[in-house]
């Protein structure tokens, strides 16, 4: 029952955020902007809808480091077992450059994908087949014997094995954007949203070397595809998760679909568990992540990256409908009945709220108590 007139403040003028405030009858904080302190809900860049150090999960290099560390810890554990086979072989530059060179020489026909660690929307990404191509990173030099890399900028890069056999539909590559809400890290409580979409490239996929620089073939980011001649305003290259599930089930079978979804859930849970010990938990924080997942031709999902601020720009009416409902459902979980739930109320929440289904609640995990004793808490610097 929505009967409280909460006051809101927002750093974003996004219609899906503002319209949700208005639809719930909440009032905009009327004080002068610099003096606004009477808000109850603040859609901000860093405070309420984020955990303080979310970058541990959402920076590409930190995500890789934490997953590798978590895997090393888990290898020593007996009780909990996680499947880590969803992260393509990845090296962080400049630190792991020499390791990369060794691997590069072992597999000279392998294509790699190079990404700035902290950028988004496909910026600065390129495919690599020759080490000399690293000069594409502005000002970067590579010694002639390839033993040394001098990155001109101070930012890190991640270099991953390129998944060159993606699942194609209609001959085109796509990746998945799925939404996950974390309302607490200690204990971990994770919700998964039932709606999401595949983001399709506009050009037919090919491994032809001549097309390696054609981003309309290889990069699924909407920010890139929208500049293709074949981009459609009507669907924006977005294909609903429901439609994809129907396709996979009909064309590959129910068991194949179930395994694919189980594997995707494993990716979400394992990645969140990997940072559980390092994230600064705060009961006032929640975070809605945008998971980018690529399916290969065997229906195996691979984790591409996790976004802390998934785009709320809407490109089509269907997209707007999805994101409006998504934000609405986030509020229904985080602020049920327009109030901050106490611990008891949180524990009594149903397992399904709107489009969100509870994926994991550590309080209900029977292995929880035993593993908590074994887990060592390390703050990653």
């Amino acid at each position: 029952m929505q009967n409280k007139k909460l006051k809101w403040k927002s750093d974003f003028e996004k219609s899906v955020i503002i319209e949700n405030f208005v639809n719930r009858g909440w009032i905009k904080s009327q004080e002068k902007e610099e003096e606004q302190t009477d808000w109850n809900v603040y859609w901000a860049t860093q405070i309420i809808n984020h955990f303080p150090n979310h970058y541990e999960l959402t920076r590409k290099d930190c995500m890789v480091k934490n997953l590798k560390r978590f895997k090393r810890e888990q290898d020593k554990e007996v009780l909990e077992t996680f499947n880590f086979d969803f992260l393509p072989t990845t090296y962080i530059f400049p630190g792991e450059y020499s390791l990369f060179v060794e691997e590069f020489h072992r597999n000279p026909n392998q294509t790699w994908i190079v990404k700035p660690a902290a950028r988004s929307q496909g910026k600065g990404i390129f495919l690599l087949r020759k080490i000399q191509q690293l000069k594409k990173i502005s000002g970067t030099t590579v010694t002639s014997n390839m033993t040394q890399l001098n990155l001109a900028s101070k930012e890190n890069y991640v270099v991953s094995r390129y998944i060159d056999n993606p699942l194609l539909i209609g001959g085109k590559k796509f990746d998945l954007r799925m939404y996950v809400l974390v309302t607490n890290y200690k204990p971990l409580k994770v919700w998964i949203y039932n709606k999401g979409f595949g983001r399709f490239c506009n050009e037919q996929y090919t491994t032809d070397v001549a097309e390696i620089e054609n981003m309309f073939v290889h990069l699924t980011n909407v920010a890139i595809q929208q500049y293709s001649d074949k981009y459609s305003q009507k669907h924006g290259g977005k294909y609903s998760i429901d439609a994809l599930k129907l396709y996979v089930e009909s064309a590959y079978g129910t068991d194949a679909l179930n395994k694919m979804m189980d594997d995707i859930h494993n990716i979400m849970l394992t990645s969140l568990k990997s940072v559980q010990a390092v994230i600064q938990n705060d009961k006032h924080c929640f975070e809605m992540y945008g998971y980018d997942i690529l399916l290969d031709s065997n229906l195996k999902p691979w984790l591409i990256e996790i976004n802390a601020s998934p785009s709320l720009t809407t490109t089509t009416p269907v997209d707007k409908n999805l994101k409006m409902n998504l934000i609405n459902d986030v509020y229904n979980i985080v602020l049920p009945n327009d109030d901050f739930p106490d611990n008891d109320q949180k524990q009594q929440q149903p397992t399904k709220v709107g489009g969100f289904t509870l994926l994991y609640d550590e309080n209900l995990d029977p292995n929880n108590r035993k593993t908590q004793k074994r887990q060592s808490v390390k703050i990653w610097k």
Partner: protein
């Protein structure tokens, strides 16, 4: 006509679950006896109706084994003449379309998008031109009302019989996992089409739908044959036809659909192969066009025997969900079109024809929702004009793919398009309250231009509400 020998009949019987049930019953009936004669079995079979079941099963096998001949002539003569007139009209439209494409080539600013030979509105308008049939001794019992737009005296099934036939859909509940698994096993083991129809009438799991369709059309062991046939057609596509251009234009609408845009290229490839497929003419259940154009004509009918029409792409689209193999998608589309969808474009008195389906819809709406029927007439929006698009294109583009595939299941389940009558009636009933408030055509268009979500089960429920 193909006839099966006894061995072939026995093979088909053995592929049926019903046959093994019957055999089990007979065995159980004689479990204590050691000596059993043929007469004993016959007496037993007659006493518990097994003989009737077997006779029905065998006659069904024999009936299905007969190669169907394409219906060329209708029992009602004026429909035969009308078909010729329709074909002549389409040839004229073809000439107009060809001229338009020439003009567009010469003038880039001329972007007339009406580059199709006919659409569903043209078809309905043509049906409306039929003059009231003179009284005919054969059809004196047929009632028709003059306020309907299709005043044609053709034999029609009673609308109540159609409503009764599909009433079981109202009782369908969500099935448990156990029941779904049972159905899966049934589909894997069953080969007889009568049994597959029964499954299709109730529930088809997404994961087994393709297999059910392939089995029903007897394609399940013909992958290589289907592939070879398709590859041959693809090679023929290298020679461009004028109709290819029309198909490419037709594909634009599907390329904007959020559920089907990913299959755009596959759909176009299937259609280009379709209009070159010589086997369609002998497989299609009803001839769509009749008469040959005059000599020295630039274009003739495609080799299929009919013109491609607007939105033909829609029929292929939902089938793209069923397989990763384009030759399978093509085979299923071809079969669905030749068995069922062809009737939606045929000038015919057959029960599946567009004419009969339209008249059934008018009959049901005028008797069960007379207020709506009358109101639509008064504001200049006939019932049929409102639903003709949904009817002709099986709600593709109006419902999400899972619901469309359920429609396809029902079509196979009853070997009939009558489910579309139920859904069209349901569609009108769903929007009845808004339509009754509409004052003119613009109001009506506004109702249907809003974002809406129509579902199969929902429309069935509405069909039976009064």
């Amino acid at each position: 006509m193909q006839q099966l020998d006894n061995q072939e009949i026995l093979m088909k019987l053995k592929s049926s679950k019903q046959f093994w049930d019957i055999k089990k019953k007979i065995k159980q009936g004689f479990s204590d006896q050691q000596k059993i004669g043929v007469n004993d079995i016959q007496k037993f079979a007659q006493s518990c109706e097994i003989e009737d079941q077997l006779i029905k099963l065998i006659s069904h096998i024999l009936k299905k084994s007969k190669k169907r001949e394409t219906l060329k002539e209708d029992q009602i003569e004026f429909l035969n003449t009308s078909k010729i007139k329709w074909t002549e009209l389409l040839f004229k439209n073809l000439d107009i379309v060809h001229q338009k494409t020439k003009n567009q080539e010469e003038d880039d600013t001329n972007t007339d998008s009406k580059l199709y030979i006919y659409d569903e509105k043209n078809l309905l308008a043509f049906l409306q031109t039929f003059k009231q049939q003179q009284s005919n001794n054969l059809y004196q019992n047929v009632q028709f009302q003059s306020n309907k737009i299709l005043n044609i005296n053709i034999p029609l099934k009673s609308s109540q019989s159609i409503l009764d036939k599909y009433q079981y859909l109202l009782l369908q509940e969500e099935l448990s996992d156990e029941k779904i698994n049972k159905i899966r096993k049934q589909i894997e083991n069953e080969h007889l089409d009568i049994e597959l129809e029964k499954i299709a009438q109730t529930f088809v799991p997404n994961g087994e739908r393709c297999l059910l369709y392939l089995k029903y059309f007897e394609f399940d062991h013909q992958d290589t044959v289907l592939q070879q046939h398709f590859v041959k057609l693809q090679k023929e596509c290298l020679n461009q036809l004028f109709y290819d251009e029309l198909l490419e234009i037709d594909g634009h609408e599907i390329s904007e659909d959020t559920f089907y845009f990913v299959f755009q290229e596959q759909i176009l490839t299937c259609l280009k192969c379709f209009i070159r497929d010589r086997t369609i003419k002998e497989n299609i259940r009803i001839q769509l066009q009749s008469g040959i154009k005059k000599e020295h004509a630039e274009f003739q009918l495609p080799i299929t025997g009919f013109f491609p029409f607007k939105n033909i792409s829609k029929y292929v689209a939902p089938l793209c969900y069923l397989s990763t193999k384009i030759h399978i998608i093509y085979a299923l589309f071809k079969e669905f079109f030749c068995r069922y969808f062809c009737f939606l474009h045929a000038i015919s008195s057959e029960s599946n024809s567009i004419l009969s389906l339209c008249m059934q819809i008018e009959e049901i709406v005028s008797t069960r929702s007379p207020k709506l029927f009358h109101h639509l007439k008064v504001i200049g929006c006939d019932t049929l004009k409102l639903i003709i698009h949904q009817l002709v294109y099986c709600f593709i583009g109006d419902m999400d793919p899972p619901h469309i595939l359920t429609i396809y299941d029902q079509i196979i389940g009853h070997d009939s398009l009558e489910i579309l009558v139920i859904l069209c009636v349901g569609f009108l009933n769903k929007y009845k309250s808004k339509l009754l408030l509409a004052k003119n055509q613009e109001n009506v268009q506004q109702i249907f231009s809003e974002l809406r979500e129509d579902r199969f089960q929902e429309l069935v429920q509405y069909a039976y509400k009064q």
